[in-house]
């Protein structure tokens, strides 16, 4: 730029210290005065004039030299001030320019005739042009968008008096590819507050839109997989049971109709067949019950755990009576949960404790302890216990540690407990030794997840 060299020259002149200028100017003035006296007024030779002893002459010359030095000093002071100001302005300009150009958002300044006054590097790069190509052109020539030339144009809105307009806008790059943007327009005012134009800010939201699309796609996939699962659950509840019912019913019909013609073996075989179908049916029903947990996305309600425990015990009344089980509990808290799931949780744990009792009648104790993150519940029994190595296996669906002849069941109760607890953000585990009873623990966090 031509202006740059000029300013460098000026600075080099100004850098000469004022003392030297003053002394130089003084010597020059002294010499000039001597020349004038010697040759114009004819007052003797030049050497005598230079080393004059006339006090009046020395006074006048010294006064003039002092004035030169004082004014020179003042001039230097003013020049220095201006130099500092200019440098400060230059520095501020450079800083603002840097901020303007490195801003994450694309920005440009537009005058009242829609001409681009300034554009930052971010926006120029986003459009795919150089800054010089954009400056001086109409705003819609270099960065056309979905809102150009319509009433919704943010610039028109600012010119009509709004202080800020923010909107979604789809802009077009030089290569005609589209950029989804959030465009923000604010007035660009002069020092007196008069409207000079508009500052436009563009936030490229391509990534956000992409992420939203991906998220929506994932949600759709999830919804599909969920509906497939529900379909599966329905198939399990209906279509799988129908053939099962046919087998069981017709085997029984055979027995009914041909009772007298069958021998003892045949009756045995029929019993096995019917028993098999019934067990198959309970497996299907349990699987269905398991798959249904968590599907009811009810809002959690405040529940008194004592009431829940009483309900669970009422549901197990026959079993408790039969085994003479004694169930005790400490004071239990009120927590936020799904009440039917909580009843099922207690019911499964207690029925488990009752079922796997030892020689003595089952004694079961339920308690709860408050921790910082939530409640830790425990269900302690005096039953047959579980060898520590099976501590995790028992929570896996359809995993059983005993044969059907010892203890009946499908092996789903604890898997359901685990699903309920984990669905509530908690954890379930067992501490036990073979023959020494077992204590099941589960946590119910105040909020979020608790381990």
């Amino acid at each position: 730029m031509p202006g740059k060299n000029k300013s460098t020259n000026r600075i080099s002149i100004r850098n000469v210290p004022i003392l030297l200028v003053g002394i130089g100017g003084g010597i020059f003035y002294w010499f000039l005065e001597s020349v004038i006296h010697a040759f114009i007024f004819g007052e003797g030779d030049l050497i005598r004039q230079i080393f004059t002893s006339d006090p009046h002459e020395i006074w006048v010359r010294s006064l003039v030299i002092s004035i030169i030095i004082i004014f020179g000093g003042y001039a230097q002071f003013v020049i220095n001030r201006r130099k500092q100001d200019e440098e400060r302005i230059k520095r501020i300009n450079a800083e603002l320019d840097q901020i303007f150009n490195t801003a994450a958002d694309g920005m440009r300044v537009i005058d009242k005739d829609f001409n681009v006054l300034r554009i930052n590097k971010t926006l120029a790069d986003l459009i795919g042009i150089t800054k010089d190509e954009a400056v001086g052109k109409k705003c819609y020539e270099t960065f056309r968008g979905s809102l150009c030339h319509i009433a919704d144009c943010p610039l028109t809105k600012i010119f009509s008096g709004l202080e800020r307009v923010e909107c979604d806008s789809e802009k077009e790059r030089r290569d005609c590819t589209k950029i989804p943007c959030i465009a923000t327009a604010t007035p660009f005012r002069g020092p007196d507050g008069q409207l000079l134009g508009i500052v436009e800010d563009f936030k490229d939201i391509t990534e956000r839109i992409e992420a939203e699309k991906k998220l929506a796609q994932r949600a759709q996939e999830l919804a599909r997989s969920n509906s497939e699962l529900q379909q599966f659950a329905y198939v399990a509840s209906h279509d799988l049971q129908e053939p099962l019912r046919m087998v069981a019913s017709y085997v029984q019909l055979l027995e009914r109709r041909y009772k007298d013609k069958l021998d003892a073996d045949a009756h045995d075989f029929i019993n096995y067949a019917v028993d098999g179908t019934k067990r198959m049916q309970s497996l299907i029903n349990d699987l269905l019950a398991y798959s249904r947990i968590g599907r009811q996305s009810k809002d959690f309600e405040s529940i008194e755990c004592t009431a829940v425990l009483n309900q669970a015990m009422a549901n197990l009344q026959a079993m408790i009576k039969e085994t003479k089980a004694v169930i005790t509990h400490n004071s239990l808290p009120t927590i936020k949960a799904d009440s039917s799931q909580l009843v099922q949780l207690f019911q499964n744990l207690i029925s488990n404790a009752v079922k796997f009792h030892g020689h003595e009648p089952p004694r079961i104790h339920v308690s709860a302890e408050q921790k910082e993150a939530g409640w830790v519940f425990s269900v302690q029994d005096n039953g047959i216990g579980i060898a520590p190595e099976y501590g995790n296996r028992i929570f896996v669906i359809f995993q059983r540690l005993h044969g059907q002849s010892e203890y009946s069941g499908t092996g789903i109760g604890l898997a359901i407990c685990k699903k309920i607890v984990e669905g509530r953000g908690g954890r379930i585990w067992v501490e036990s030794e073979s023959g020494k009873g077992a204590t099941f623990y589960f946590t119910i966090p105040n909020k979020g997840v608790m381990y």
């Binding site: 329905y234 509840s237 129908e242 019912r245 046919m246 019913s249 017709y250 009914r256 029903n285």
Partner: protein, 149 residues
């Protein structure tokens, strides 16, 4: 006691069921019924509606006194059949008993929402099924008074 018992006309029952095994089983059990009945069978929803509207080969069909309806049927679903019956002023007075394998809450809710008269899940056990059919027979054909057209 219901006057139907003394009536000389047999009770007309329409069984809408696609599974031949179930049809036969139901027929076998109804054979042992105390009440003289005519069990008609439609194997899908379309056939059921044709029967009820007395169209085509069913132009001479009699109006059933009771409909036993399975939910999962080919061509036209049991839920659609139920909705059509209950929306038809001529048919909606016929009691409809849903007799299905499904225990799904949504099916039970949906059926009652469509004004089914009762919902019964078929048990695996034959003795229980016999009990249920006898129950249907006792309740709907003996205890309850039905409109006779």
């Amino acid at each position: 006691m219901n006057s139907l018992i003394n009536s000389i006309h047999p009770i007309e029952i329409l069984l809408v069921e696609d599974n031949p095994g179930d049809v036969r089983l139901t027929m076998e059990v109804f054979k042992e019924a105390k009440i003289h009945n005519n069990l008609h069978v439609a194997v899908d929803g379309i056939e059921a509606m044709t029967f009820l509207h007395r169209e085509g080969k069913y132009s001479k069909a009699s109006r059933p006194d009771l409909i036993l309806l399975d939910l999962n049927l080919p061509k036209k679903d049991g839920r659609e059949v139920l909705a059509e019956i209950k929306n038809d002023p001529l048919l909606r007075s016929i009691p409809v008993v849903v007799l299905t394998t499904s225990k799904a809450e949504e099916d039970i809710f949906k059926s009652y929402d469509l004004h089914v008269n009762c919902y019964i899940t078929k048990p695996v056990d034959l003795d229980q099924f016999i009990e249920i059919v006898k129950g249907i027979e006792d309740f709907w054909l003996t205890i309850v008074k039905l409109p006779r057209s």
